[in-house]
Symmetry: C2
């Protein structure tokens, strides 16, 4: 898409710090990293998010992500990583071109995780039933 920031990076119209590229996929550094080495992985084909992308593009992306994540961790001496997609603006998606964040992690890096809370009595069964019904 002509007005898409990440498509412009794919096309070379905007520079980026690329760390991996093949004919289908591009990975480059997030410029405001959560930790040094925070990498974004995108398909060269434009799609806005996980709900409008093709299964083929998604399978191509996920197939290469472990290799890239392993490379990020090994080259910078991290012990693990978060793989994250923010799907929709309410979820923190800023650029409407599907991208997977690889956020390398180490002990005591100051990042907290979402902390969940248990359901109220009986609530979990109702929630499960609502989802099951629509997925049937």
């Amino acid at each position: 898409m002509t007005d898409c920031l990440f498509c412009k990076i794919v096309n070379g119209e905007i520079p980026a710090h690329k760390v991996y590229e093949d004919k289908d996929v591009l990975a480059f550094l997030e410029i405001n990293p959560d930790n040094s080495g925070h990498t974004l992985v995108i398909s060269k084909n434009h799609s806005e998010n996980l709900l409008d992308t093709s299964g083929e593009d998604l399978r191509t992306l996920i197939s290469i992500i472990p290799k890239i994540a392993k490379g990020v961790c090994e080259s910078l001496d991290y012990k693990g990583f978060n793989l994250l997609v923010n799907n929709g603006s309410v979820a923190g998606q800023l650029v409407p071109h599907l991208h997977f964040h690889i956020i390398p992690r180490k002990e005591d890096d100051g990042h907290e995780h979402f902390v969940g809370e248990p359901y109220q009595d009986g609530e979990i069964e109702q929630v499960a039933e609502k989802i099951r019904k629509i997925l049937k």
Copy 2:
């Protein structure tokens, strides 16, 4: 694996609130949700994380995740979601059986995102070079 919590859920030894199941994949509610409807999606085949799973299992998982995420959001009236894998204990992984979190999101739900900071001058080029080198 006999001592794996999620394998026990797959085998029916431990109950769970299942929302989707096919021959390869199981999705069930997280019991300590970040938001109501927070769902975990796993492959029935055991693997510990993204780095030891098979490409085939990973492609099977990612192919069904958009459908499940759409179902979670539509049934419970959410506007977006985060897709998250915590890979390794330093990244917050609690159960060593690869699982994708689908965390449905709405405006002002109280969850904050990781907030990144820019690199120091010249640092980003060095980081990119280290990763590129290992990925070659």
